[in-house]
């Protein structure tokens, strides 16, 4: 044990503040049963700023304004129509071109492909965390197939599934499966060792372990995968509908866009894209936000 006095003498040049000696006290403790929210009230402006929907709506308005200004400045309606022209075309397309039912066709196929991909991704990653060869398999398949564009699968899809919705679903599954599996797997491997051990301590193994421990523990990563997968499902669907979508006369949004692009109705093309954007905003701000609020945010897993 070091002698304090020696150390003290060794640094005589440093000023050595010494705290004052204060009286002791004891206090009664107040009953606190009814402590409510003592937060300071917010100003109306702060309250408004706290409404996420409002802030985002404003942001959208700014984006729209920038678009409108850029389009007016470019003055090339055949390449870059204004917001107002797009909105008019959108309205027109809803009324006369059945845009809503086209969007529904796309959406329903998309949801089917998405659901299949989610199931496959969970299965594949379960395999990957359970066995080493499964891990190799996932990593190899992902790095092989993930970079392949949907168009490359076209001949194979036709060969195996013919034309129509099944092929489209196949291509969608390809679009969603790999990024989702990558995210899910990364999420699984990042689960804390202690949580893993706790789960295995309960006697959980295999699929039950994955379901009850890994999936919720990796949920933030899985959610990201779902978001990325969702976006890429759209990207792929629109590109693939050009090829597969209209075999039975029922075109989707992709077809609508393609057709109007071919006929140089650029405002309608933008209207089609705008509906993709609107659906994206809706899904992000309603579906994914709701899931987030009731899972990872409620659990304190993300800020």
């Amino acid at each position: 044990m070091t002698d304090l006095s020696i150390a003290r003498d060794s640094r005589p040049d440093v000023p050595r503040p010494t705290p004052p000696i204060r009286p002791e006290y004891e206090r009664g403790v107040a009953a606190t049963g009814a402590i409510g929210d003592v937060a300071r009230p917010l100003s109306p402006w702060e309250k408004l700023a706290n409404v996420t929907a409002l802030r985002r709506a404003l942001l959208l308005a700014v984006v729209a304004a920038v678009w409108q200004a850029a389009a007016l400045w470019q003055d090339n309606p055949l390449m870059f129509p204004t917001v107002s022209a797009t909105a008019a075309a959108l309205w027109d397309a809803v009324l006369r071109d059945n845009l809503l039912s086209m969007a529904w066709v796309s959406l329903s196929i998309l949801l089917k492909g998405y659901a299949i991909a989610v199931v496959l991704a969970i299965g594949l990653t379960t395999l990957a965390v359970s066995t080493r060869i499964g891990d190799d398999l996932l990593s190899t398949l992902t790095s092989m197939f993930n970079p392949l564009p949907a168009i490359a699968l076209l001949p194979l899809a036709m060969l195996w599934f013919g034309l129509g919705a099944v092929s489209l679903t196949f291509v969608l599954v390809h679009a969603v499966l790999w990024p989702l599996a990558l995210n899910t797997h990364a999420g699984f491997t990042a689960v804390s060792e202690t949580l893993r051990m706790a789960g295995r301590n309960y006697g959980l193994r295999g699929p039950r372990y994955v379901l009850a421990v890994l999936i919720p523990a990796a949920f933030p990563a899985i959610l990201t995968g779902l978001k990325v997968g969702w976006a890429f499902a759209w990207r792929t669907l629109i590109a693939a509908e050009l090829v597969f979508g209209v075999s039975s006369g029922k075109g989707g949004l992709g077809w609508f866009i393609f057709q109007n692009r071919n006929e140089l109705y650029t405002d309608k093309v933008f209207a089609g894209l705008a509906s993709v954007i609107l659906i994206g905003l809706l899904v992000e701000n309603v579906v994914f936000r709701w899931i987030e609020a009731h899972t990872v945010r409620a659990w304190g897993m993300v800020r």
Binding site: T194, M197, A198, Y202, T295, M301
Partner: protein
């Protein structure tokens, strides 16, 4: 109500209260047999030996304490018994069977605060192992969980998520979770380290009470000599890193009421000397293999 005010009891006068003793065979076959166990971790550029040729036996209903300086491999040993870590040398046998994987027969309370699944409320957390291991149906599990939560004084927080709890509260949930399971073997890694004196004492009481009811076998890690004497019936003293067995000491004679007694004090002093004899000269706790 508190230990300091209790009268001292001569520990040598206390023996196990033998009421419904089991047949001899069960008594004389150790439940858990750790023999010559060396544990190592391989990291990218180092090889760390956590403990070296450790042997000890646990008989049924023993409260066995691992005591040793920080980093001597206590947690590692516990993890090995839990089935999470395979020994590179030696063997761990449970009822004569080598331990190869974890299971709900050996409930573990970990040292880390993040052992509670954050997606389950306090109550769900306590129910989780009961349901997962099939030990109880939902209704029964809920009852047991609420009882255990009450024991650790967290009833008002039964529906809170772990991230809204303080460090000590989290540890108490983990303790409740393990106690609700009433397991055959309870593995506890410094479960009371984050608790204040009173809460700690209450937890110790509850634990001993449960032991007396259920007579589980317990392997308990602590760094507090006093706690070892109170909670344990036998103490394994480990050397600093890498941990080796230094001694085994009986302490079934002490309970919560003995802490003030001279016998207790002298036992504490004896273990203290055992543990830290080398340190006085070496003044170093860790040494790397």
């Amino acid at each position: 109500m508190n230990a300091l005010s209790r009268a001292a009891i001569d520990p040598s006068a206390i023996a196990y209260p033998v009421d419904n003793a089991l047949p001899d065979a069960a008594l004389h076959r150790p439940l858990l047999d750790v023999s010559g166990v060396t544990l190592q971790y391989k990291t990218r550029d180092h090889l760390v030996t956590a403990c070296y040729r450790v042997d000890f036996q646990l008989f049924q209903a023993e409260r066995f304490v691992l005591l040793g300086p920080s980093g001597c491999g206590k947690s590692s040993l516990l993890k090995a018994v839990g089935g999470f870590l395979a020994p590179v040398e030696g063997a761990i046998r449970l009822n004569g069977q080598a331990v190869t994987q974890p299971g709900p027969d050996r409930m573990m309370v970990f040292q880390e605060f993040d052992q509670l699944p954050p997606w389950k409320t306090v109550k769900q957390n306590v129910m989780f192992p009961l349901l997962a291991s099939g030990k109880a149906k939902r209704r029964e599990a809920e009852e047991k969980a609420l009882a255990a939560i009450a024991k650790v004084n967290l009833s008002t927080f039964a529906d809170a998520y772990p991230h809204t709890l303080s460090g000590g509260m989290k540890q108490r949930v983990a303790i409740a979770r393990a106690m609700a399971m009433e397991p055959d073997i309870l593995l506890m890694d410094e479960p009371f380290a984050a608790l204040d004196a009173l809460t700690r004492r209450k937890m110790q009481e509850e634990l001993l009470q449960l032991w007396d009811d259920v007579r589980f076998t317990m392997l308990f890690v602590t760094h507090s000599i006093e706690e070892a004497l109170v909670v344990g019936s036998r103490i394994l003293v480990l050397s600093p890193h890498p941990g080796q067995v230094k001694a085994e000491v009986n302490c079934h004679g002490f309970d919560l009421s003995s802490t003030g007694s001279p016998a207790f004090q002298s036992a504490a002093r004896r273990i203290h000397t055992m543990l830290f004899a080398d340190e006085v000269e070496a003044d170093g706790v860790g040494a790397r293999s």
